[in-house]
């Protein structure tokens, strides 16, 4: 008997699916073609390439053919764009200029890739001495002012466009080197590369199969940028009159036009236009590829299960929670008889607007309350909406989140009144830190690495309580002692990277209680910690909660933690509240099948090596 029944429930990851539930996969190229800017860029560049390629056919005159009886002429049927001061045809010179300009840009990029890419691959993959030496060379190359070096090169080798471009390719190769090296470094230790090593793949195979694919797209983007720079540099050299005078280039044409700027300023226009068009095409192409890649990333990056991640786009909240315009109308009073609840959430719905105008709900019709001195556990698996619920109480939802239904009241007045679309920052900024505070999941990433722990404890107290810095410092040291830190003075002066994870979590707890809040929202406060540290932190939370008589909302996936701390439990699944009640009732006698399934998945007390999920309990096939 295999258990294929259960797992054919191939529930696609939310976000990877379209509205219909079918998986839409589009490659970068497809996305590129869907982007109008990408198409414009490709059309421009392709057009330029064709003009350059067929310059010999398309140009009515030789690039240096001068009709001295017809200088600085206006456009006519013979000279489409007029002639320059020597009577040479501007259109023909523009075409031949395109040829030389594009070729030199290609040469430059080819040289730069030829040096930077292999060097970057080797340095990134093997590190060691090669990397040290190349880093040193790179730091030299990067501190050389390009144009000055090219002038010197010209002094040595004469006015050759090709030598100049090869030299510039060498000078700019560090950009490829650094790009490739950091890309390789980021995947070198990825587990899938380890898996390939375990399978005995050769280094060459690993690099070509697993690593090269990572750098390919960035290299193309970089090449678009570098080709643009190469065109600019090449034209600049030509403009200075340092090129081969027998060749028509855009730079020479600019210089020629600049000399005659008082007579025929249009001579300047055409080469400048051609240059801007070409470089612009390259820039647009680079941007379009980057956008296409990032669209792919959005889906890929859903793997970080960090709470607060926007489940729709996979992005974290980006900008500040937009302040709602202060509404003139007064906030309605809460329903009589509910004022005594510390916090009360009623029929809350939170959603994210989708591209097609619909709203994807991540929290749907959730109601619960917490009283003073009470601990409510919100339990659920990833994607259950438990963190979104917690953040809407804090008013720290991502910018694009909408409260689509329901209300939230805190201490007898609404923070989200019925009918309001967003959490009122005006009302919540008065409460946050002072009455409501927050303990995050990941201790390290929640402290600003650039400031000492002391600073990060003192500042909120100064701002929120309006006490002096000295007073705040005294309180901070006492708080650090209270959360069980043995040497508070040292921790106070330390930077976050100088303390352990368990210590950092204690610091964050100290911060959460520093202004004596009435409600603490703890989002998986022990998940990132080792079990023995978790036990200590749970003890600490319990002790503080009892001493200060605060209300706590504890978001967690761990029933053990719930049993340890909570008075009541709410179980959530797919944005909905499944079941809510006193902790003993829910844990011992769950009514809902989902809660039963979750509790049945607990290993504690199970017969070792027994099958955990009976076929009957398996999820229906999606």
């Amino acid at each position: 008997m295999t258990e294929s029944v259960e797992t054919t429930a191939l529930t696609p990851v939310p976000g990877a699916t379209g509205q219909t539930g079918t998986v839409v996969r589009s490659t970068v190229l497809k996305r590129l073609f869907k982007n109008p800017l990408g198409i414009i860029a490709l059309v421009i560049l392709l057009g330029m390439a064709l003009l350059a390629l067929f310059a010999d056919v398309l140009a009515p005159f030789d690039e240096n053919f001068a009709n001295i009886s017809k200088t600085l002429a206006s456009p006519d049927s013979v000279n489409l764009l007029g002639t320059d001061s020597s009577g040479r045809d501007v259109w023909s010179r523009l075409l031949f200029g395109a040829q030389l300009t594009l070729l030199s840009a290609l040469l430059c990029a080819a040289v730069a890739i030829g040096i930077g890419l292999p060097a970057g691959l080797i340095a990134g993959y093997y590190a060691g001495k090669f990397e040290a030496v190349s880093n040193w060379i790179v730091s030299i190359l990067m501190s050389l002012p390009g144009l000055i070096v090219l002038l010197t090169i010209r002094a040595a080798f004469g006015p050759s466009v090709w030598i100049a471009m090869i030299a510039f390719g060498v000078l700019i190769s560090p950009s490829y080197f650094r790009l490739t090296r950091s890309a390789v470094q980021s995947v070198r230790n990825e587990l899938y590369v380890d898996a390939a090593r375990v399978s005995g793949l050769s280094d060459l195979r690993i690099i070509t199969r697993h690593i090269f694919s990572v750098v390919r797209a960035p290299i193309i983007i970089q090449t678009a940028a570098i080709a643009g720079v190469a065109i600019a540099i090449q034209s600049g050299l030509e403009f200075l009159g340092l090129g081969d005078p027998a060749k028509a280039t855009w730079g020479v044409m600019l210089s020629e036009g600049f000399k005659n700027v008082y007579l025929t300023p249009t001579l300047l226009f055409w080469p400048a236009f051609a240059m801007a068009l070409t470089i612009g095409g390259l820039v647009l192409l680079g941007n379009a590829i980057r956008d296409a890649l990032e669209d792919g990333e959005k889906i890929k990056h859903r793997r970080t299960r960090t709470p607060g991640t926007d489940p729709v786009t996979g992005r974290r909240p980006t900008a500040a929670p937009a302040a709602v315009r202060p509404s003139r109308k007064s906030v309605p009073a809460v329903d009589p008889g509910t004022e005594h609840h510390l916090v009360k959430v009623t029929n809350l719905g939170v959603g994210y607007p989708q591209a097609d105008g619909s709203i994807k709900k991540v929290v749907d019709d959730v109601s619960f309350h917490v009283d003073r001195g009470e601990i409510l556990g919100i339990v659920g698996e990833s994607g259950s909406g438990k963190s979104q619920t917690a953040f809407s109480i804090l008013g720290l939802l991502p910018d694009n989140a909408r409260v689509v239904a329901g209300s939230i009241q805190f201490d007898g007045s609404y923070t989200v009144a019925p009918g309001e679309e967003r959490v009122s920052q005006e009302r919540l900024s008065k409460l946050r830190g002072k009455r409501i505070s927050y303990i995050p999941q990941e201790p390290m990433s929640n402290l600003d690495p650039a400031f000492t722990i002391g600073y990060q404890l003192v500042t909120p107290m100064v701002r929120v309580l309006g006490i002096s810095k000295a007073e705040a410092r005294k309180r901070a040291l006492k708080l650090l002692t209270d959360v069980g830190i043995v040497n508070p003075e040292r921790t106070f002066n330390a930077y976050p990277h100088e303390v352990s994870g368990g210590m950092a979590q204690r610091v964050l707890i100290a911060g959460a209680i520093s202004c004596e809040p009435a409600l603490v929202i703890a989002d998986e406060p022990t998940t990132a910690l080792d079990v023995t540290v978790q036990a200590d932190v749970l003890d600490l939370l319990r002790e503080l909660q009892q001493r200060l008589n605060i209300g706590v909302i504890l978001v967690t996936h761990n029933f053990g933690v719930v049993a340890d701390l909570c008075d009541r439990v709410a179980v959530m699944q797919n944005g909905r509240l499944v079941e809510e009640g006193p902790v003993r009732d829910i844990l011992r006698n769950p009514q809902e099948p989902y809660t039963q399934t979750l509790l049945a998945s607990m290993l504690e007390g199970k017969e070792p090596m027994s099958t955990l999920v009976s076929p009957l309990q398996k999820e229906p096939v999606a």
Binding site: E190, D194, V531, Q534, A535, V561, P608
Partner: protein, 291 residues
Amino acid sequence: MSTTKSAPLLTVDQLVVEYPSKKFRAKPFRALTDINITIGRGETLGLVGESGSGKTTLGRAILGLAPVTGGKISFDGKDISHATRKDRRVLSRDLQVVFQDPYTSLNPALEIGDILAEPLGVQGMEAAAAKKRVKELLDQVGLPSDAINRLPREFSGGQRQRVAIARALALSPKLIVCDEPVSALDLSTQARVLDLFLQIQKDTGVSYLFVSHDLDVVRHISHRVAVMYHGEIVEQGPADIVTRDPEHPYTQRLLLASPVPDPDRQEQRRADRHRLLESQRMQHEQAGVLA
């Protein structure tokens, strides 16, 4: 299912792993000290410890992903302590891995079919035969065969972990090193994946080195358990003894630190833990006085 009297499949003998320090002339960092373990055929050895205890490093050393500076690792009678990449290619038929993070252990750019065919291709299997094998594997881990042409990102964490297990199974190995394979999964998914691991062992007789920080997980899946602390194995023995009645003070602390899903029993456990910590502290102080 228990260990046979014949020679064990894997023997790790006085293993030492040291990483050279980044700083010039500084002492190398010692990740593992004097590790001795054996794993029999069809047996699961659970390896439990906290972050930084060295449990992952031990798995990586066996796989050739961590530098062996001392001691010996023997697999199926051969010394593999310093196996070359070529040796590894041969070895990969019998020794495979499932990593913790199902999100980074699969190359996001490759389709599931290609990921699963990779170990087969290394062994020189024809494309057609490989494709057939891939279908078998998907079936074995309970994924639909249309998964072949999909990308990893189209799957949930539990499903990806099934793909990773299928990849490990591709060459019908004798031992799979499982590095925290269920830690990143939701509770109900974890239960299903554990069921799959057990089912596969029943069907194929594969051995596991099962690394986890979770004593409950290790107790559930292992025949024997080894406890790691600060780069050393402090205790090992039959699973039910080590995970229910441990001897080493650290394992005792670990056992009582993990909370149970019942308020009253948890209160009891909490009290037990405080008593244990108190008595260990007193012992420690007495030892300090004596020393």
